[in-house]
Symmetry: C2
């Protein structure tokens, strides 16, 4: 039975409820909210979604989301290009940017090695990280992956790939409680953990 | 400080977080989800929002959301036009439609009388309800407003306006617990309450 008096409303509700964590009730609430607002408000939301999806790309160097071939961080003359911070995804990169403590560049892996989920090294942006390190201008690679078995595995895999290539390999300080997620850590702790990073080898001998 | 590497992503996050109950974190989660999907998925969502907002209208008769001048219920030859169910908003109408127990038509007030929120009778679609009743073809008006002081006030106000005009004025049975919201009531109880409606006067002598 169709409980909607409007197909247009029904369509919008269905589209919203495809999003994660949004059920039919929430979708309807959002739709009724939009209907109360002026036309331009709906257009701004709708167009921002369409434009973003069709125009956003991945930075050719660090693989973060970017409006152009090379992202604003990689093309920023004031950032230290010799230091690369390796993160799992764009959210972790944003969390570090938010601390204002880091002036290097990034490398977004797009995930971590997880045999359980069938994610191997070749599914991640590890090859391009090795290529960047091969250039010889990289002095330090900071590992900022989650403190989980998968994170440790990925750390170790990248460490083995990079250690012969010259750069120091460090990890952010474990001031962050084991098991906590980077993106939810408070800025002070996260900022401190960037400043207090230590050689990767040290974490192995614990 | 700008933590986004992409203006497009930032815009989309900002637009999403204007919606009620959606913060920046949730908005980013939705945006990253959309980016993982194909282009047409984003277009379907974006266009459904824009199209709905620009094309949806209020039914000239019952004031529900409609794709045309007169809604599918008011223009349905199989619905009993002599019985009108008065509801606060479109969600309550949808809840009643969902029971499959009701074959009359509706009148959406667009709110209820609430001095606290500064909503008076003239802010609601009450005048047009009186006009409908004046036509003489309406035999029954079923009040399905919330069981609150505001709902009772609105019931009584409409009762006084309509009682000289001829139609029986009934209310849905109070099988629904006082204070509970119509839209969250289970279908059986809500359906029963439509079938067991009783004369409005009876509720006054309690």
């Amino acid at each position: 039975m169709n409980i909607y008096s409007s197909k247009l409303v029904e369509n919008a509700v269905n589209e919203f409820s495809r999003l994660p964590g949004i059920g039919k009730k929430t979708a309807l609430r959002l739709v009724l909210h939009i209907l109360k607002k002026d036309n331009p408000v709906a257009e701004a939301l709708g167009n921002s979604i369409i434009k973003m999806r069709s125009e956003v790309q991945y930075c050719r160097i660090c693989h973060t989301l970017s409006d152009s071939d090379i992202c604003v961080i990689c093309s920023d003359g004031k950032r230290q290009k010799s230091i690369i911070c390796v993160v799992e995804d764009i959210r972790d990169m944003m969390a570090i940017e938010n601390t204002g403590q880091y002036n290097g560049v990034y490398h977004v892996l797009g995930g971590i090695i997880s045999p359980m989920e069938g994610i191997g090294p070749n599914d991640l942006n590890i090859g391009s990280l090795v290529e960047r390190a091969k250039g010889g201008s990289i002095t330090e690679v900071i590992m900022a992956l989650p403190t989980t078995i998968e994170g440790d595995t990925t750390n170790f895999y990248i460490y083995k790939k990079l250690k012969e290539l010259g750069p120091d390999i460090t990890t952010i300080a474990r001031g962050i409680a084991i098991g906590d997620e980077l993106e939810y850590t408070d800025e002070v702790t996260l900022g401190r953990s960037i400043l207090n990073r230590m050689p990767y080898e040290k974490t192995l001998t614990k």
